[in-house]
Symmetry: C2
Subunit: 437 residues, 2 copies
Amino acid sequence: MSQDSIGVGVIGLGVVAGQVARVLTERAGDLAEKVGCPLVLRKIKALPADLSRPLARELPARLFTTDDDSFFNEPGIDIVVEAIGGERPALDYLKRAISGGKHAVTSNKEVIAKHGLELLALAREHGVGLQYEASVGGGIPLIAPLKHDLVANKISGIFAIINGTTNYILTRMSREGIDFASALKRAQELGYAEANPENDVEGIDASYKLAILASLAFRSRVRPQDIYREGISRLTSRDFRYARDLGFSIKLLAIAKESGGAIEARVHPVFLPEKSFLAKVDGVYNAVQVETDLAGKVLFMGQGAGPLPTSSAVIADVVASARKIVLGIGSVSVWKAVAGKRIRPMDEIETQYYIRMSAADRPGVLARIATVFGDNEISIASAIQPESDDVTQTAELVIMTHPAREKDVQQALRELDKLDVVREISNFIRVEEIEGG
Amino acid sequence: MSQDSIGVGVIGLGVVAGQVARVLTERAGDLAEKVGCPLVLRKIKALPADLSRPLARELPARLFTTDDDSFFNEPGIDIVVEAIGGERPALDYLKRAISGGKHAVTSNKEVIAKHGLELLALAREHGVGLQYEASVGGGIPLIAPLKHDLVANKISGIFAIINGTTNYILTRMSREGIDFASALKRAQELGYAEANPENDVEGIDASYKLAILASLAFRSRVRPQDIYREGISRLTSRDFRYARDLGFSIKLLAIAKESGGAIEARVHPVFLPEKSFLAKVDGVYNAVQVETDLAGKVLFMGQGAGPLPTSSAVIADVVASARKIVLGIGSVSVWKAVAGKRIRPMDEIETQYYIRMSAADRPGVLARIATVFGDNEISIASAIQPESDDVTQTAELVIMTHPAREKDVQQALRELDKLDVVREISNFIRVEEIEGG
């Protein structure tokens, strides 16, 4: 099925879709050389409102349609790029493209996290490919390395900073000692956070991305609802101060591990040793550390979002799809999830903990608190009482534990909350003793 | 050309070849699933001396041959892995394999750096592939990202720590304040440096790897002899002390940049701002920062050497080659060097400089030295005189320049060397004001 040119259709005219259209047009010569024949942007399916965007005026009017049928019936579209985001109607568009025998490329983490296996099965059935490099980590190669370059390895863990908005907020909180609300406000002013920031700050975005990475790494279906999730809004400047005093940074980490045939997957704030490499990834940067048995720890870092980086990944997928067409090969998806591995419930995970509480400031209190930990099989690594308030006779107490089971820690926290000498469990944050670098 | 199984022949039985043979055997089931049919290790071409290695006893004796002809005439070998290293006879073996219609996989940086284009042309001619992911950065995906994942980008720069031996030595010098000879000795005791360390410490190894990365990134032939090269043996503990005082780390960096249609490529020690990400890459780790116009700065990090990481890359290439055979496609090499771009002579590069010298300790000396810099169009950013020796009336002087041309700096150094007030130009090290992280 060699052909004179390969046609591309783009769904969407937001910043990503627009940038993809721009690269396809402006770098046509380079891309043709890499593909082996010209890549031609044939149609853009836009919303009526999109047509007033500046980009719409950069490109010839004949390229645009607002009608689904005329887009999907357009002859000569071999590859469809979906870049509208969100679950619907993106999922329907992807299904329609694939069912129509078109190779599909998407930057849509939500659709891939929730429906990736289904879409890949549909693509195999129709002999086409489905590529989604841009769904995680913007321009950082992650999907291709997991699918191809690390194929010889058994992967035991993924530790990822994959949400730039939260990393930006945490970096400001850490550097400036400001609280979450102020840091969020600044991120919003700079366009790094949305007006409704829930998707980012509650870890939803990160959990979609982790579902995709973990499914690939462990070759088993990991769904967003399999991922334990906690956002960053509970963090306070006090936590950052104690973290620094104790030699840690605070990051929103997406963690997936496989051991004993079971997978654990979670997104929550963690204390990371400040000497670890991931602790040094600041601002809007993303970084993913993959732990493997042959290649050791491999780290990928870069800009995880934005139209330019995302277009880099989308175009790489378009070129890969086009190469398949030129070579006459269809779906060669490597991601076939093996029979689902067990998802380890959060109760069973084992890690270390930072616990901050207010307690009565009098002799014997620490003994009573320590007894609750001991009774629940939790060893205390350190207990410090950095501040006390003479008026209320309340002391702040910061406890770091040795590795303990989540279930035991939760039980201990419930018991502590009932102790008359404990005024408040102010926060607890898990600690990842990750190495690297 | 679909087939029941795909045969692999391995040349060499050193630590890398041995580990490749082990993975092919022990992970046969996993690899078969990824390829679509079994990958079978059919023959190992070893030296007579290799046959007494422990690995030779792990594998059936029928797998071994010490005879070239019987290896190359063995039926059913589709993919040849060359893992003996060095220019000859590795080059001849690769040519013979390719000319015999076999896909070739190599971890040999010297052969690829010196003969890559010739071998790729031969592979195209014979309709087979030549893969060399393991030639740079061990288990870190680098070649595939440059060939595929970053294909949409214009790459403007590569900044790489790609020799673990020298990075280990520099890390010890920096942390412990020891001199080069002591750090080298420790690296040798730990097996991180060879008895004859020239290849590593003089930057030869790094220049091969940079030639490969730069050729791919800029799609133009960059040969090892096009690369300016300086090793690390001139560095002293004093340089490390001043670097730290000034806010820098010292790294052996492989740098390639393209601007104005010309390529500059160089391997030498540099002052890196200690806040930059590459400055934090310590010990035997490797890291490559790629600067692109769409994806921004992308960083890849991991273990750059060792049999396990290298086998990870070799097996990935074997699987990719096998997939091509299963899909019935031959050579699909993307690396076609465009007509050679100009190599910028070292004289023309522009960077900043750290210069350490001994000078007479009396009034007016700095003025005379500063005049030499000024006359050569070099602006001084700072001049500090950290120490002076009352007996010899000699002062140590450390000068940091603003960006200046190499040619001018070399001229200034020659003139300074002739000044009666200058006792010695003790060292000069280029400064890279790289950002990232």
